[in-house]
Symmetry: C2
Subunit: 473 residues, 2 copies
Amino acid sequence: MSKHPELLETLRQIAGPGQVLSEGDLTAWELDWRKRSRGKALAVVRPATTAEVAAIVKACAAAGVSIVTQGGNTGLAVGSTPDDSGQQVVLSLQRMNAVRQIDAANLTVTVEAGCILQTLQEAADKAGFLFPLSLAAEGSCTIGGNLATNAGGTQVVRYGNARDLCLGLEVVTAQGDIWNGLSGLRKDNTGYDLRDLFIGSEGTLGVITAATLKLYPQPAVQLTAWAAVPSMQDAVNLLALAHQHLGAGLTGFEVMGQFALSLVAKNFRQLRVPLYEETPFCVLLENSDPESETHAREQFERLLETALDKGCVTDAVVAENLAQAHQLWHIRESIPLAQAEEGLNIKHDISVAVSRIPEFVEVTDALLVQAIPGVRLVNFGHLGDGNLHYNVQAPADGDAQAFLREHEDTVNSLVYDSVARFGGSFSAEHGVGSLKLDKLEHYKSPVALGMMRAIKTALDPQNLMNPGRVIRV
Amino acid sequence: MSKHPELLETLRQIAGPGQVLSEGDLTAWELDWRKRSRGKALAVVRPATTAEVAAIVKACAAAGVSIVTQGGNTGLAVGSTPDDSGQQVVLSLQRMNAVRQIDAANLTVTVEAGCILQTLQEAADKAGFLFPLSLAAEGSCTIGGNLATNAGGTQVVRYGNARDLCLGLEVVTAQGDIWNGLSGLRKDNTGYDLRDLFIGSEGTLGVITAATLKLYPQPAVQLTAWAAVPSMQDAVNLLALAHQHLGAGLTGFEVMGQFALSLVAKNFRQLRVPLYEETPFCVLLENSDPESETHAREQFERLLETALDKGCVTDAVVAENLAQAHQLWHIRESIPLAQAEEGLNIKHDISVAVSRIPEFVEVTDALLVQAIPGVRLVNFGHLGDGNLHYNVQAPADGDAQAFLREHEDTVNSLVYDSVARFGGSFSAEHGVGSLKLDKLEHYKSPVALGMMRAIKTALDPQNLMNPGRVIRV
């Protein structure tokens, strides 16, 4: 095992001696977010500029040392921590965090990869605009990581995933060349779409160092409603009505199962969960209005009255003020924590076509209950995008550790096989990383896998960019 | 020169004898839309199914014969007609024109590549939805061609390009394998984005045979307004106001220069062009409202009053009825024809950041007028997307043929060099084809060109898919 003293010396010359960490406690870079995997880095390098990144990639390529690019290290699929060989360089982009430019008339912002998502949201807000990407880790994840994993979140139903918000990238290729694709253009049909190839490639094709992103006008008001629905099919019917009534005003549509909400009610007693006791599902809706609170409220009321008439909603409340709206969102966002309080569980981040969600849930619930009597289903997620966090909790009186040990593989296969039968995805918004590498090989078509391998080999022939993540070559 | 009798026999067995055309008048497939280039095909093959397409690609690959895929043959960059070798197979997808499925709850439609865009729009409309891609050739172009060239059109400011409307593709690879990527999923982070690689690749990486596309709720009403603006900067300022006031309701924003409108007024006297005589630019705005005509009209009036107050609009009319709205759009769409009536001209389909459009136009106008005294500038386009059709007409009393002969190269270099200095694109929505192949090599960064070549070689190692288009290898 080489300690690569010459490479480390070169890296120190490039980034400065204080920015190459190879001793001491590197836990922050080596341990993944969910603490499932701990690696060992040759070194952590923290460049300040794109030119430094390019020089680092060139030096590593010359030494045959591979690179794991890291942003906020908040990924959920173990894609940004080093393996345990002690032979990989972690390229941390956290020092490259400048908001380079806001172009108001073009509705764009150009920002470096290491910028924290929340910092970017705040910069947009200060300039009078909305940057709509929003997710639980926004206080610590970086926009580079969001793009590398094509992050989703709560406003996808209106604004799309990270991919849909990006107009251009600056990238350091696997050869250490700088590609300046920082176009703020909304139309540019000059050759292959390299931008979208790097987005979602999880650092395996090159290093995203900066991006030009879309801004939107700030809505005049955002209103939140909470509705009890008699079934998942009614939730889907409500979604169709919401699209019709609110148009592009519909910026959030979350579904939550009764058991998921009961865990919040039980474990966070200060959060008063509305309506859940009498109904199998609740839905949280958000209406962003460019006009006025009065207008937004009228629209919401008309929608909910229609839904009550049609029977797809049995009861509903509209938040009276911002504090109530935050409270409702807080309930939704507390489900993962409430689950954790209840003990270990098995998580799935899956998607199927919205139209097939009710049947998928019915069929898969039944399969699980049959396979593991007493199993408890924590079902919630972004129904507007067909994306469920379809999680499985141990039986109430069982040993959760033993449950996981005995049943995790069975449960995963059962859920993912069902997803595949419904034409869905085993990773809707969290990516592949190393955690779902085997799933990709199992569930993805051989034709797609073949094209992915050909592209990886073409752009990273030495296999030095985050090797072993997303796709094995 | 081989006539490949064995290949033709195999193709007849695959597609049926009547579907392999190798004799008689093949002008419809061999001559490009703008009649700039005429090729000679070995044969035109017209498969009916994806399996037939796969078998055809395999047979051609075995024979070392290259394939030019063709939809409606309405492209503007000479990308879908054969070269003059008589050695290429034209793969016409016009028989594969089924609307396979409309999934109302998922807001998607799955359609075969050869479906005419207008047929798709009508199928969506009949099911109560909007498919928003809209462009001049919609009566004859196919959705496969729209995706292969990432078509733009008039509603991009709200709904994006063809790329943004596509959730999944079915593709026959260069090896003749079928990739079923017809996902109706709005979130799917399982590996590289193959979909967006094929979109915009103009048939050079494989054959798009079907697609799953997004549908939108139909707006309750669409209103059209026409505004006189004192300068291009005022048009940009009006755009910002329109984004603020209308939000996602803003579905069209077109700018037209006085000279462009004067050509319409002169050559189509029955079209009464409003307001243009006293102002250098007019703007056409479209407001799509999910609510009601009253609401849409109030919003428009509020916007235009604000714009009048701020001085970025000097006068404006809102269409009173559908006939008036169509009339306004008809004026906008008659500009290319009015130009043709006026004689030969040099067309450019360029984009720069919206914020830089006023300076770009001022600087480039001045350069052209200086280089060619008396030159007339026909400037109009999709300002909402930063996309101008920045065309150049011969001086009023000159010989247009001689003008083109003497000045076309100079004018192109001058315009495209200026576009490059402003960080723009020499092909905003029309693609590269063979017409702009040299431009791509000249203006694209060597790093991007290198990645494009590597991808082309990786996915089409025999270089049989539309060779010599988009990128030379």
